[in-house]
């Protein structure tokens, strides 16, 4: 069953009189439970595509159906609510809130749920345990290494139990060894927890952790066996 279904998706940016056609008529199906690596040269539109799947952006034309919902035409408010339930985001530079402890960072998505304070804290601790950082719950991001910060970010992405994780170069800022740990963790989330993962990466070794790899080039997708 497809959890992501893009049909003839185009995304153009207009700046002044110039129009940049970043994505041109993309068709893409991703099965639930897949772990997909998305590769391509810099500026090829990987992030743009990820933003469309994650409900952060709207296509110029085409249909974007994710987790059973047509995202095209949804209001910004509806999209926000949808994101909070269905998508976990992981970024290259972690994007944690520096003023909050790891636990409070992980707890953020739960502020949008009906859970009470104690339950929120418990869920945050469970998520931190899954990523192996239970003992750092009260540390602030500045007191953690890059790899640890990315784990916190992963905990934050999974704490509300979304079906899809969207990762934009999650290991781009990490050394090889730490990157492998993070990738192992993502694999675990895919295999053991059934998360569908879509990961943009430059790194062929990172892509090798995925089940499939797609290449994006000049606005078109090229499928290649993993």
């Amino acid at each position: 069953m497809s959890i992501v279904e893009l049909q003839q998706v185009s995304r153009h940016f207009t700046k002044g009189r110039q129009t940049v056609e970043v994505l041109n008529g993309i068709d893409l199906n991703i099965e639930e439970g897949d772990f997909l690596a998305l590769m391509g040269p810099s500026g090829s539109g990987k992030t743009t595509l990820l933003n469309l799947i994650g409900g952060l952006d709207q296509p110029t034309s085409g249909s974007v159906e994710v987790a059973g919902r047509q995202l095209v035409g949804l209001s910004s408010r509806k999209l926000a609510q949808w994101r909070s339930r269905n998508i976990g985001f992981i970024f290259q530079f972690y994007n944690l809130l520096p003023i909050l402890s790891a636990r409070r960072n992980v707890e953020l998505p739960l502020l949008l749920t009906r859970l009470g304070g104690r339950q929120r804290r418990r869920n945050a601790d469970v998520a931190l345990t899954i990523v192996g950082l239970a003992d750092r719950a009260s540390h602030k991001p500045g007191e953690l290494s890059g790899g640890q910060q990315q784990r916190v970010a992963i905990a934050r992405a999974i704490v509300a139990d979304p079906r899809i994780l969207v990762c934009d170069e999650p290991t781009g800022d990490l050394d090889r060894e730490t990157a492998d740990e993070i990738l192992d963790l993502l694999e675990l989330l895919n295999r053991e927890h059934g998360k569908t993962i879509i990961m943009v990466t430059h790194d062929p070794k990172a892509a090798s952790h995925a089940r499939h790899t797609l290449y994006l080039d000049k606005g078109n997708l090229v499928r290649e066996a993993a």
């Binding site: 408010r77 926000a80 985001f89």
Partner: protein
């Protein structure tokens, strides 16, 4: 409020900046609490009134003064039972913060007219007999530790002595109390005759106003008109009113004090507004990526805007509450010092509530623009940077 820890910790992102801002807000509201309470005391202190007493003042300005020769004419007006005069002395006892009203008066008539002032008859005799005599309200004497027989030096400012000195010395011969403790204007009184002889000759014979007791309080209006008619075409026209009205007119002039204080406060709040708005705008700019992350996580535009707005309301509300609380404490500490001349000074509920209201309003005004920017923030654009 689930997001409270988030809002709260945002305030401490830049401790120094937050504390400086908070400190300014506290200072502004401390000033607000003090000035409003003092203005309130001015407005309150003027409700004292004797129903059967009229006050004859210069028609145009309180500072003009009237010739003492008016007294005989006033006494001759039909319906006037008794009249005397008072002169605002000004002056300083030891230092300017020791403020209490001082008047040279005609001892006997004055205490007749102000029948609510109670004095020992022997002391009143002494007051009349001794040239440099003075009497004081008992609580004032207690406050400054004066004993009967003490010499009390007052430095003159309005009235200088004919001998070139500005030092007036009085001998305390008695104290008086106020029945029902009604008046807040109980004053330091001394002998007019001595005052008049001793002051610079050109200024002799000038008094501030006349106090009149009428035979029939119901006729007060007509009697007032008759008194004023007497002087209408003289070079010193008068305006006569019941003591209550006169006090109200005094309050109207004092009202300018309220106006001045409000002007000061407006300036202060305007400065605080700019300062805090600047802080908030800066705080927002630094945080754009983080707000974008919150939106990514599913925080709606409205919710993110609200977080920013509440942060500003929290900061201003906190500063306002602390400032007002501090002014409450300050008034308790300073109150006894000031009460001598202003009557009861206290933080009223109205002052407290309006202070808190202004603080919250300040928070909204200051936070509105950053909140709207936060609302408009486009996630994708913000994350690209």
């Amino acid at each position: 409020m689930k997001s409270f820890p988030l809002i709260w910790s945002n305030l401490f992102r830049r401790r120094v900046r937050t504390f400086l801002t908070l400190f300014s807000i506290i200072a502004a509201f401390l000033l607000f609490g003090l000035l409003r309470s003092i203005a309130g005391a001015f407005e309150m202190g003027v409700n004292v009134a004797g129903v059967d007493r009229l006050m004859v003042s210069p028609k145009y300005s309180m500072v003009d003064g009237l010739p003492i020769s008016h007294l005989a004419q006033i006494e001759a007006v039909e319906g006037v039972a008794e009249a005397t005069h008072m002169t605002w002395f000004g002056g300083t006892y030891q230092n300017p913060t020791n403020f209490f009203p001082k008047f040279p008066v005609q001892p006997r008539v004055y205490f007749d007219l102000y029948s609510e002032y109670i004095i020992d008859p022997l002391q009143l005799d002494a007051f009349e007999r001794i040239r440099t005599a003075a009497v004081a309200p008992a609580d004032l004497a207690e406050q400054y530790g004066w004993r009967i027989g003490d010499r009390i030096p007052i430095e003159g400012d309005i009235w200088l002595r004919g001998d070139g000195s500005d030092l007036w010395e009085f001998e305390l011969v008695g104290t008086y109390t106020v029945r029902d403790d009604e008046s807040t204007f109980a004053s330091f009184l001394f002998n007019y005759e001595y005052f008049d002889e001793a002051r610079i000759p050109e200024t002799q014979g000038i008094v501030s106003n006349f106090v009149v007791r009428v035979t029939d309080p119901d006729q007060a209006g007509e009697i007032s008109a008759r008194i004023d008619a007497q002087f209408e075409n003289s070079i010193n026209p008068t305006r006569t009113a019941t003591e209550e009205e006169a006090n109200r007119q005094f309050a109207a002039q004092v009202g300018d004090i309220g106006l001045i204080m409000n002007s000061i406060l407006s300036a202060v709040f305007f400065t605080i507004l700019l300062l805090t708005a600047n802080t908030m705008t800066q705080a927002l700019r630094e945080r754009i990526p983080e707000l974008a992350v919150l939106k990514t996580l599913g925080f709606t535009d409205r919710r993110v805007a609200l977080l920013v707005l509440l942060e500003s309301v929290l900061l201003c509300g906190l500063g306002g509450a602390l400032g007002i609380a501090m002014s409450g404490f300050a008034l308790q500490a300073l109150g006894p010092e000031l009460e001598g001349f202003l009557g009861q000074i206290e933080m009223t509920a109205a002052t407290t509530l309006s202070g808190v209201g202004i603080a919250l309003l300040l928070g909204v005004v200051v936070g509105l623009n950053p909140a709207l920017s936060a609302r408009r923030l486009q996630v994708v654009e913000a994350l690209r940077k």
